[in-house]
């Protein structure tokens, strides 16, 4: 009876440990999900900013090209080589 009782107590203890671990895992999974959501949101925001900067860079490069073209045209008219 003692062996059986000990084994049953150990079984019950292990079952309680498993239940506790399952509970901990659930909490951590929940925390992880929240952090991943924050991270994903931040990444999305950064990507939007990068995209905007890319658009502005392209626009400035276009303006620079126009100015360079105008300078070259003026040089040609004035006989400056």
């Amino acid at each position: 009876m003692s062996l059986l009782s000990d084994l049953q107590a150990e079984r019950d203890s292990k079952r309680a440990q498993v239940n506790s671990l399952e509970s901990t895992l659930n909490q951590l999974n929940s925390e992880l999900a929240n952090l991943q959501a924050q991270y994903n949101s931040l990444c999305a925001s950064l990507q939007e900013e990068i995209a905007e900067l890319d658009r502005r860079t392209a626009s400035l490069e276009s303006q620079i090209a126009d100015v360079k073209a105008q300078i070259n045209e003026l040089k040609a008219r004035s006989g400056v080589a």
């Binding site: 059986l4 084994l7 079984r11 292990k14 079952r15 498993v18 671990l21 951590l28 952090l35 924050q38």
Partner: protein, 610 residues
């Protein structure tokens, strides 16, 4: 027995004396002034021309007839509100009435004399004398085994001896077995389960006794009660009902008792008291009078006591939770409640027989369906005549016939058929299959049924028959049914099989198989043959969550189907296996948790939350 009686009708007259189901209604005849009522709905259909009472109503030739007392009239019903006098007798007391084969019989007594005559008629209009019996009084006529039994008394009231005659047409003789040397009167008789049951009243010991007659021998007593006489009897839904009560004439209006009993067999010890009615006799024709009767319509019993008629209904059983006292209307609802609120079951320890509780882990499950068993019907293909079947020919005639080739796979040559019927008559025959022994399995949805029958078609549009399998609860109420509906028509004599299968509904305790016929012609003959009722079962499997150690004797009990006893070594092995499995599960969880923690740290670092 939980029953209730709901009043469905009454009369301003003294009492009801007789009743008869016919078509879709039950008819009642009165004492005080002769009137007829029917139900449903409760309706006064006729106040007769003259007289005192309607002692008996009988069906014949597709309609009903009645006799009246203190005016020796016989009436025939043309329609519920149109009755005509078909015989006016100088003998004032019409008492008994019955039909058998091609004849209807009526018994009349002569005022002031111990003398009875029986009239008979084949057409309902001409009533010659069948028997003129000088020496006693016939109270009731009952057809049984091909003869009409005239039951009553030889000699004067309260001094004469119980006596009976039987016969057909004009051939009548005393039935010696029914003429014991006992002061009294046969007051009521009814055919049930192949026997003629008789109630003997007017006895010097103040008791009424019931006996059984098999055509040759009288046996009993089967039942005895302190009451002056049996007022009336009938058969309803597998039971024989008897109403016992007081002497017709009372000296005052002081309350008297009527006793309603029923029995499924008639055997001694099987009689169930349903209700004692304590009522006041009503003054009529110079005295305080008592009368009552019992009848049956659509498998539901009706009882009339004095001037009120009641319908008897079963009261739904209350299923009480053994743990919290909550009540439910079915075993299934109680089971669902226990499974959700008290997830335990009781298990008997196989070693010390202690009652133990085991925690349930689910709703339980089912094993596989077993094969169908043998046919549960007695005489399913008419090879033994009508053995096992109860007939109500309703004024027509149903027969065993063998003039057609049998249906495919038939076990014999005979069929159940119809000889004649008229008008609204619906001859029928039925047989009950008792499944109450499987109640616990049925109420868990563990019994399946397969029913079938072969129908022989008679190619006349007006000739129809139907087959019904009714699933009845313990009170005889129909829970559900399989009904072929009225079948007929076509141009050929053909056999067709009708079949059904289903899980027997929760609460079902009896299956009634009923064949019916109808026709407006007189030569029809649709058939039924090869009827089957077969059952198949599956096991209910409780689902306890874990093994059990009996706290009384220390035996080890395994969860699952069989709740079987384990050896100690097996039990220890199982415990260790469980511990090992839990340890592995815990280790896996810890690893997963570590991984998740790592992911969380990485994300926090990326987010600058470190």
């Amino acid at each position: 027995m939980a029953v209730k009686f709901t009043q469905i009708g009454s009369t301003g007259d003294c009492a009801f004396w007789s009743c008869l189901p016919f078509g879709s209604k039950i008819y009642f005849g009165t004492y005080g002034y002769p009137r007829a009522y029917n139900y449903p709905p409760w309706t006064l259909v006729k106040s007769f021309a003259a007289g005192e009472s309607v002692p008996r109503i009988t069906s014949f030739g597709g309609t009903i007839y009645c006799v009246t007392e203190n005016k020796g009239y016989i009436y025939r019903m043309n329609s519920p509100t149109d009755w005509v006098v078909v015989h006016d007798d100088s003998w004032e007391y019409g008492l008994g009435m019955a039909s058998l084969g091609s004849y209807i019989y009526a018994a009349f007594c002569h005022r002031g004399e111990d003398r009875t005559k029986i009239l008979y008629s084949s057409n309902g209009t001409s009533w010659p004398v069948a028997d003129d019996w000088n020496g006693g009084e016939i109270v009731v006529l009952v057809p049984y085994n091909g003869k009409v039994y005239a039951l009553g008394r030889k000699g004067g009231f309260l001094t004469g001896k119980t006596w009976a005659r039987r016969g057909t047409g004009t051939s009548w003789a005393d039935v010696r077995a029914l003429c014991p040397n006992v002061v009294g009167t046969w007051r009521a008789g009814v055919v049930f389960n192949g026997y003629l049951f008789l109630g003997m009243g007017d006895r010097s010991d103040g008791k009424t006794k019931v006996y059984r007659f098999d055509g040759t021998n009288l046996s009993g007593e089967l039942f005895s009660i302190s009451a002056f006489k049996s007022h009336y009897t009938c058969v309803c839904n597998g039971y024989m009902y008897w109403l016992f009560g007081p002497h017709m004439n009372q000296g005052s209006s002081s309350a008297v008792n009527y006793y309603l009993y029923r029995t499924p067999t008639g055997d001694a010890g099987s009689w169930e008291h349903l209700k004692t009615f304590s009522v006041n006799p009503v003054s009529s024709h110079g005295k305080y009078r008592t009368k009552g009767c019992v009848g049956c319509l659509n498998n539901e019993p009706y009882v009339a006591v004095q001037n009120k008629v009641y319908k008897m209904e079963g009261v739904a059983l209350v299923y009480t939770c053994p743990y919290c006292g909550a009540t439910f209307s079915s075993q299934a609802e109680l089971d669902a409640h226990i499974a959700s609120e008290h997830p335990t079951i009781k298990v008997t320890c196989p070693t010390c027989h202690s009652l133990l509780e085991v925690t349930l882990g689910g709703e339980g499950g089912f094993g596989d369906w077993g094969g169908y068993g043998s046919n549960l019907l007695t005489n399913p293909s008419a090879e033994e005549g009508w053995a096992g079947w109860t007939k109500d020919e309703d004024g027509g005639s149903i027969i065993i016939c063998s003039d057609w080739p049998p249906p495919p796979g038939a076990t014999g040559t005979c069929h159940f058929g119809l000889a004649t019927t008229y008008g609204y008559a619906i001859p029928k025959a039925w047989q009950d299959v008792d499944v109450s022994g499987k109640a616990s399995l049925i109420d868990r949805g563990c019994v399946r049924i397969k029913t079938s029958g072969w129908r022989g078609n008679w190619p006349e549009e007006s000739d129809k028959n139907r087959l019904i399998f009714e699933y009845l609860d313990s009170y005889g109420k129909v829970i559900t049914s399989y009904d072929t509906g009225w079948l007929g028509g076509g141009t050929e004599k053909t056999w067709n099989k009708y079949e059904d299968s289903r899980v027997i509904p929760v609460g079902c305790r009896k299956i009634r198989v009923r064949m019916e016929w109808k026709s407006i012609s007189t030569h029809c003959s649709p058939r039924w043959d090869e009827l089957f009722v077969q059952l198949s079962e599956r096991e209910y499997i409780p689902e306890p969550t874990e093994n059990l150690l009996c706290p009384v004797c220390g035996a080890y009990i395994e969860k699952g189907v069989s709740i079987k006893l384990l050896a100690e070594g097996e039990f220890i092995t199982q415990l260790r296996q469980q511990i090992n499995a839990l340890e592995i599960q815990a280790a896996q969880l810890e690893k997963v948790i570590a991984d998740v923690r790592l992911q969380i740290e990485e994300i926090k670092a990326k987010l600058g939350m470190g």
